[in-house]
Amino acid sequence: MLSHGMKQTGSISLNHLQGVIFAILNPWVAIGILLLLAFFATYMTALSWADLTYVLPATSFGYVLLALVAKFLLHEQVSPMRWLGIALITGGVGFIAGGPSLTEHPHSSTKIPAGTSPRESGEGVLRANNAGVETPTSVER
């Protein structure tokens, strides 16, 4: 849910910067900035739960959504090389999520000791993850 929203906002605002911004200036820019802010906030939230090497590739899924939006909403041409790129990113994200069934739980990072089910209720996963992440400085402040 969080990751989904993050990816969506990410893709939509990227989409703005590339194409729509030139066509319709003011309201779109305002929405774009708001979405970028929302993206940043959710990105920081995700970083508080999971590793950078986990969050960053997962965020790149926004590129895939961007390409799909460009194809189906803006009717842009998506070349075979771009489809290959989409496939590579999707594969990489699938790899890092430890299989497609876990993609909805980006905070259940691989730091969790093996055996912890990522299909627990959300809070259980969060706690488990928080305990599992190596954060020697997390008690500061």
Partner: protein, 126 residues
């Protein structure tokens, strides 16, 4: 000559955004679990604690530096070179930096994912 400028600007982007990402990640690890903190102390405390974190502020400065480097790079080179090169090199640099500075356990699975995503982004953005 122009290529040297472009590539140094790309390297500047990569360096600044890697530094920014590492600082932001470290800041959020210091802030702690945002969801948990919000339940205990409220959203205002989360925001204040994040904005008051030194690493966070430095990270934002680094991100701004990356953005201006991007502007410089775009003034010297094509967007079809700058965007994919900077994006995919940033992924690789981040994996290395996260391993060294954040002591994250970057195992084989994550390396493969990073390389796949970097290649995919290079293809998509190009």
């Amino acid at each position: 000559m122009k290529e040297i400028y472009t590539w140094s600007a790309i390297l500047a982007i990569v360096f600044a955004s890697v530094v920014g990402d590492v600082l932001l990640a470290r800041a959020m690890k210091q802030v702690g679990d945002v969801g948990d903190l919000r339940r205990r102390a409220g959203l205002g405390v989360v925001i204040l604690r994040t904005l008051g974190n030194g690493n966070f502020l430095l990270g934002v400065v680094a991100m701004a530096a990356a953005f201006f480097s991007l502007l410089f790079a775009l003034s010297w080179g094509d967007v079809s070179l700058v965007a994919p090169a900077a994006a995919s090199l940033t992924f690789i640099g981040n994996a290395v930096a996260a391993k060294i500075f954040l002591h994250e356990r970057v195992d084989q699975r994550r390396w493969i994912a990073v390389v796949l995503v970097a290649a995919g982004v290079a293809l998509l953005a190009g």
